[in-house]
Symmetry: C2
Subunit: 233 residues, 2 copies
């Protein structure tokens, strides 16, 4: 491990889910000093944010901030409004109701503000084009466009001091590969949370096992030949 | 005026200042149905937001939303933190302390979420490269990069339904030209607010007349040969 003074800083967007936790593991494994950023954006429940806190602690990040943002003022998604979360996973070519308009653009914008403040040029995000091909802001051309914007948007472009890099290491991975990668670098998935619609029973968090997010997670663990350490209904 | 059914919708970023109010006037004058968006971002005072409300009402916008966002969690600017607002305007090639990291990127990201929700493809922003040449996110290449990002970031890129346009009509105008343009289309500047550091005396809002923002505003009115209708200390 490098001395802190010489470690490169990275912002990692951390939801506390399986994907972003794996990304945090990857960034840590690459030797970055981690500044984790989570969002309290009017999720249906705050289990996700609790997971993010636990994960940040396990990985001994340098700093963990949670930005409170209210995406509900615009409405428009099952994750933030009263639209029902769909169950019984169905493959479709359409944009899912769980899509939040411009969410990753907003998240990356905050990450950029954070990066500029702490002097980081590297931002890690757990987007994935395999499982989320119908989310426009989970695709490689979106990430490339944001990377280009990031340098132009910040003081470094005036002072000509460097370039931002948006790392999306999971972009082309299947869920199986994500889980295998995480396990190979020691990521503990027992503290992560993925379910869109969990219930709490006797202080235990039980994932529904039926929403898109649970479906993809469970399928990934089965394909990787591993047992998912979290509890289901 | 077109029937509402056929009017094109536009999102207008509205701070309640001279520039954004002029932009709102321009968008209205072009026949757009206006969805105004303001930000409560931990400004030193809420006089700006009150101005935004008054201006939105005067222009009879279709809808006016205020997004509460906390940029103070990152610190780093005189407009949101405890750094002193500089007085006695000095021209400098450096980035001013009033620069808020990635602010316009965050503002435009929210505007994009709003646009996607209401079905607008036009976003208006009052950035200006003449007076704010040292703010990286007030320059034409930044706006062009965001415009490119916007279409890629949203559902329309998946459904191939259209392209976003980021309008920055003040980009190349001097303050004199901005004021002349506004007056020519009937903008009432008495309800606008520009000062970074105002005081309230007997329920009157008095602008300091000394911060960068006041300096540029007053200089603009003098150059345009008009009297600024707001009160100063």
């Amino acid at each position: 491990m490098l001395n802190n003074k010489f470690m490169k800083k990275a912002i990692v967007l951390l939801s506390g889910g399986l994907d972003s936790t794996t990304v945090l593991g990857i960034a840590k494994n690459l030797g970055y000093e981690i500044y984790a950023l989570s969002f309290d954006y009017g999720q249906r429940h705050d289990i996700e944010l609790e997971s993010a806190k636990k994960v940040a602690k396990i990985f001994q990040v340098k700093e963990h901030k949670t930005a409170k943002i209210d995406l509900r003022i615009f409405g428009g998604s099952a994750l933030t409004s009263e639209i029902a979360v769909p169950k019984d996973h169905v493959q479709s070519a359409e944009i899912p109701v769980t899509y939040v308009p411009a969410r990753n653009t907003i998240f990356l914008s905050y990450a950029l503000a954070y990066a500029e403040t702490v002097g980081a040029f590297d931002i890690f995000i757990g987007v994935n084009a395999v499982d989320f091909s119908n989310y426009p802001d989970c695709r490689p051309d979106f990430i490339a466009a944001f990377e280009k914007l990031a340098t132009l948007a910040t003081a470094v472009s005036v002072e000509n001091k460097g370039h931002f890099k948006i790392h999306a290491p999971l972009m082309q991975m299947s869920k199986k590969e994500i889980i295998e990668t995480g396990i190979s670098i020691g990521v503990d998935y027992s503290q992560t949370h993925s379910c869109y619609d969990p219930i709490i029973e006797n202080e235990n968090i039980l994932s529904c096992g039926k929403c898109d997010s649970c479906y993809l997670r469970l399928e990934g663990f089965v394909a990787a030949g591993k047992k998912d350490p979290i509890k289901y209904c």
